[in-house]
């Protein structure tokens, strides 16, 4: 018990047997079911789990901001000797802000759009400190400087919409820190941000924590983020803690099968694509039902009869404990390869670029700008260069991944390829037919050849249409088959995407996100398309569901001979799916090549920075990896920088980059090209192969 006593006296926050319920109209969700942990002075505790695991509810229970219907029904939350679970509202208000600061996920919605950010930072200072207005202003300025907002003085008068996402999150952090909290709860602080901004914000949080000697509770679904920034990690599943350990220990010596499976189901950014990704079967349990035994048992391949009857308790030493009757052995839990061994299957070799088939898709100097207008008469005051001068080709059966941060034009490009947007200039030739020159009628009949998969499975299906009619619709529109053959096709496709044929009777809201995305694939496949443009196909899904979908996407490609254009901000997802990668920045294609070339020997500084910013779920490598900073914020696409568009954030930028716009040129081998004057891998081949972008692309036989 000496260990426990030690924790008692040094811990800042101690949660003891916390139970939180959310009452709904017809059911009570046991969101948190007996969670105990502590956060010591100066420690960063990471809370990981998928959606519905109770990680966010834990955070909200601590600060007493549960959603309507939610309440703490048991346990204690000891913070500086006070039990927050039983604190009256008035005393709780004093704790919030001054004792505990919170940073939420979405900086777009957690700031008041009608108040200047100065006023919003001053508000908590005056509420808790009652200092006079001038002093509060001074403090606000100090805070903005502290969180690294440039030109803080001018920024005080800005409204939230005038700031970028990254700056807004910095402002949120400033507000959370305004009254020197002892504990900072950061709930998915970087999930809504781009990967380069994410790494800056995480670094900032780590630095501030040390400087202000705070403790931090970092809540996230991203094991990579946890690996780099948490001292101790708590893994949650279905409202309970399944494993708790020091960060390095957890990743090196995983004990709980769930944690192990979770780690194994993440595609890695520095790993090849020739294996089937491990995926956890099934879906998380329904928390409104009575539970018996281990909640993970139905999805666990190590489950025995005992797991379904008895409730496993957290066992182990203070450094590492897991709630499992059949934990992974030392050998199984160390490193990630053993888990993989379960599922390794040879994959088809990617179609090599030596394959001299005619290209299926040729995108040639495509430009798309959106006018920016003002006033009633829609006077044009400028234009956003969504896509400017992008060219590439795709051959039948290959997968091209398109990566880039938000606003780089990748989605617009995808929509143009499936003819949902028309380019302003350039051509998109699909199988020999120029889509940009077709009439509306001809385009309509062409559409069955290429389909789009959407990011959000919740909005891509008509909520008022059952799955059966929704899948029949494409065939009805294109007058394919009759009633019987359509039904047969639907049954077949549902089988292909891993759903039973019963699905036709249900409405979309009766499916989970992953299932809906499967339905989206089934719908896209009804017309036997040749090209599928998948716009962030898995980014709305949880890790365990995501790996199921990634495997499905690959399986469908083989079964249906598909060509994929996968658009994603997630470099590891693209790496897993794609044969070739294109990197976009502010409407430009800056680098393109095979996976091995782009990920192994990135030539463009932006690609290198992007790769370095991706968090790796392995503390040793994550903390050791060299930082290639991509500093600052994305410039506006309305006034892109002259010359090279990346120069404002590039560590290698020189005079020439301001003046001369770099064109795509070969860097290592003909099919690896980058648009940079000073590529990271400069070769003689690159210089001699310098010619204009279109020829570099069009000449496959060169």
């Amino acid at each position: 018990m000496t260990e426990a006593q030690r924790v008692e006296c040094t811990s800042l926050l101690r949660v003891d047997g916390l139970k939180t319920e959310i009452r709904q109209r017809h059911a009570t969700i046991r969101a948190i079911d007996g969670v105990s942990f502590s956060v010591a002075q100066g420690e960063t505790v990471g809370l990981v789990g998928e959606s519905g695991s109770g990680k966010t509810m834990t955070g909200l229970s601590i600060i007493g901001l549960l959603p309507p219907g939610g309440r703490v029904v048991g346990g204690r939350i000891l913070f500086l000797g006070q039990d927050l679970a039983r604190l009256p509202a008035r005393a709780m208000r004093a704790v919030r802000g001054s004792g505990i600061g919170v940073v939420f996920q979405d900086p777009m919605t957690s700031l008041n759009p009608c108040m200047t950010i100065g006023d919003q930072i001053v508000e908590p200072i005056r509420a808790h400190r009652e200092s006079d207005r001038k002093a509060a202003r001074r403090r606000a300025l100090e805070l903005l400087d502290l969180v690294g907002v440039p030109q803080a003085k001018e920024r005080l008068k800005d409204y939230p919409h005038q700031l970028s996402g990254g700056l807004r999150q910095r402002v949120m952090i400033a507000i959370a820190l305004s009254c020197d909290p002892k504990l900072l709860i950061a709930d998915e602080p970087t999930t809504a941000l781009d990967v380069t901004i994410q790494s800056e914000i995480l670094e900032l949080l780590g630095r501030l924590k040390a400087a202000l000697s705070m403790s931090m509770l970092l809540i996230t679904h991203d094991l990579g983020v946890i690996a780099g920034h948490a001292d101790r990690v708590i893994v949650m599943y279905a409202g309970r803690i399944v494993e708790e350990a020091n960060a390095s220990e957890l990743f090196a010596q995983t004990r709980h099968p769930y944690t192990g499976a979770l780690l194994a189901s993440i595609p890695e950014v520095d790993e090849g694509t020739d294996r089937v990704l491990y995926s956890i079967p099934g879906v998380p349990p329904d928390l409104s039902q009575d539970r018996q035994g281990c909640a993970f048992a139905p999805r666990c391949d190590r489950a025995t009869g005992r797991c379904e009857v008895d409730d496993p308790q957290l066992e182990g030493c203070a450094d590492h404990s897991a709630a499992c009757f059949n934990p992974l052995t030392t050998e199984e839990g160390s490193g990630r390869s053993p888990m993989h061994a379960v599922a390794v299957e040879p994959r088809r070799p990617p179609p090599s670029s030596a394959d001299k088939r005619a290209p299926l898709l040729v995108v040639d100097h495509v430009v798309k700008t959106y006018p920016v207008t003002t006033g009633v008469l829609r006077r044009r005051i400028g234009a956003v260069n969504a896509v400017s001068d992008v060219s590439f080709t795709m051959t039948q059966g290959e997968t091209l991944g398109l990566v880039g941060e938000s606003g780089c034009g990748k989605t617009t490009l995808g929509k143009m390829i499936v003819a949902l947007e028309r380019p302003d200039a350039g051509s998109i030739v699909f199988d020999g037919i120029d889509l940009t020159k077709q009439s509306n009628r001809a385009t309509r009949t062409m559409r069955r050849n290429f389909q789009l998969i959407f990011q959000d499975p919740y909005s891509s299906l008509d909520p008022r249409m059952r799955v059966g009619p929704a899948l029949r619709e494409p065939m009805v529109i294109n007058a394919i088959g009759n009633g019987v053959s359509r039904d047969r096709r639907i049954t077949e496709l549902l089988g292909d995407v891993g759903l039973s044929k019963e699905a036709v009777r249900y409405y979309p809201h009766e499916f989970s996100g992953g299932q809906r995305q499967r339905i989206g694939f089934a719908r896209a496949l009804t017309l036997s398309p040749r090209l599928i443009v998948a716009d962030e196909p898995v980014s709305a899904l949880d890790v365990s569901i995501r790996s199921q979908l990634l495997n499905l996407i690959k399986r469908l490609q083989e079964a249906h001979e598909l060509t994929y254009l996968v658009i994603s901000h997630d470099l590891s997802v693209v790496r897993y799916l794609a044969d070739r990668i294109g990197v976009m920045y502010l409407g430009k294609l800056v680098e393109i090549g095979t996976c091995e070339q782009v990920y192994g020997r990135p030539a463009h500084p932006y690609t290198a920075g992007l790769l370095a910013a991706v968090p790796i779920p392995d503390p040793a490598r994550e903390r050791a990896k060299r930082r290639i900073p991509v500093n600052g914020e994305l410039p506006s696409a309305r006034n892109p920088p002259s010359g090279c568009r990346f120069r404002t954030r590039c560590p290698r930028a020189q005079e020439r980059c301001t003046v001369e716009e770099p064109v795509l040129q070969a860097v290592s081998g003909t099919d690896h090209q980058a648009a940079c004057h000073f590529p990271l891998v400069a070769t003689d081949v690159g210089k001699s192969a310098q010619r204009d972008g279109s020829r570099a692309f069009g000449s496959d036989g060169a």
Partner: protein, 309 residues
């Protein structure tokens, strides 16, 4: 599910449900079932439905039981106080007041319901097309809506009622004409937001024509708010008809309606002949309030339609 399960049964259950890789859908209760549940939890709404059902029976079944003559005037029976023969007395023309309330209610309810349905259907289609097509078409269509809105309804009604001979179908047309603009605006907004949703883009990407998008996807998704609006529209229409008739521009006698009866009764308010004033007034108030209760409850119920509860 039973609280105690033996392990073997659980295993079997797990294996069965794990059959398709993606898992099965969790059947939730139907959207309409959820809406009905929420609706029925609202006591006022249930009262409202009760009142409406009562008045429907009263007006359409009532005359079959309580037989009176409402066509031939009988001057020997004018202004009789309520008695066992005439439960609510008689009016200035010798008509039985209770019988007349039933007949008059028929007109009010018919006009109210029909006008609300016509206005909602037309307005919905108008708004859906305007919002979906957008651009110049939208601008022109919505300026037409603005123009109709700019005319005070009572002036328009007075003009139309004097220009044409009032009849039931005329009244329906007139009332619908002044009230279709509100649903048109509502649905346009709905349509604008639906238009940019992914599922519309997906169906377009399959090669669908606009007509299909509007009829099969935009309209069904706008149906919730429209039902709510239609309910309020019935109440408004009944009030409008009553107001018109009160001003003497309703359907001419011997046809009856509550507004006209109220108007006639007011002549005798100083004489203490309450049975000519209160019953008609009460009928109007009760029906209008009942429809408003229903509309309020429907609005609450429809809000939860996409939530998984």
């Amino acid at each position: 599910m039973a609280t105690t399960r033996d392990p073997l049964a659980t295993r079997a259950l797990v294996e069965r449900t794990a059959a398709p890789e993606g898992g099965e859908a969790v059947a939730s209760r139907g959207i309409w079932r959820v809406i009905l549940d929420v609706f029925l939890q609202n006591r006022l709404a249930v009262v409202g439905v009760g009142i409406v059902v009562f008045f429907l029976l009263f007006c359409f079944v009532g005359p079959l039981i309580y037989r009176t003559t409402q066509v031939v005037t009988n001057l020997t029976l004018i202004h009789l106080a309520p008695s066992s023969q005439h439960l609510l007395g008689t009016d200035a023309d010798g008509y039985d007041e209770l019988g007349r309330l039933m007949v008059g209610g028929q007109t009010s309810l018919e006009v109210g319901l029909a006008a609300a349905v016509v206005a909602t259907l037309w307005g919905t289609l108008w708004g859906a097309v305007a919002g979906f097509v957008g651009g110049a078409v939208d601008a022109v269509m919505m300026r037409i809506v603005d123009s109709v809105l700019a005319i005070p309804p009572i002036f328009l009604l007075l003009f139309l009622a004097t220009a044409f001979t009032p009849s039931v179908s005329m009244l329906i047309f007139v009332v619908a004409f002044v009230s279709w603009v509100i649903p048109a605006r509502l649905v346009r907004g709905e349509s604008l937001s639906l238009r940019s949703r992914d599922f519309i883009l997906a169906v377009r990407g399959m090669g669908s024509r606009d007509r299909r998008l509007v009829l099969r996807h935009i309209l069904p998704n706008a149906v919730g708010p429209m039902i709510v609006y239609a309910t309020f529209a019935v109440a408004d229409a009944i009030l409008l008809v009553a107001a018109l008739s009160f001003l003497g521009l309703g359907i001419p006698p011997p046809a009856a309606n509550w507004g006209e009866m109220l108007s006639n009764g007011l002549n005798y308010i100083a004489d203490g002949w309450w049975w000519l004033v209160y019953p008609a007034g009460l009928c109007i108030v009760l029906v209008v309030v009942a429809f408003n209760f229903i509309g309020d409850a429907l609005r609450d119920a429809v809000e939860v339609r996409l939530q998984r509860r």
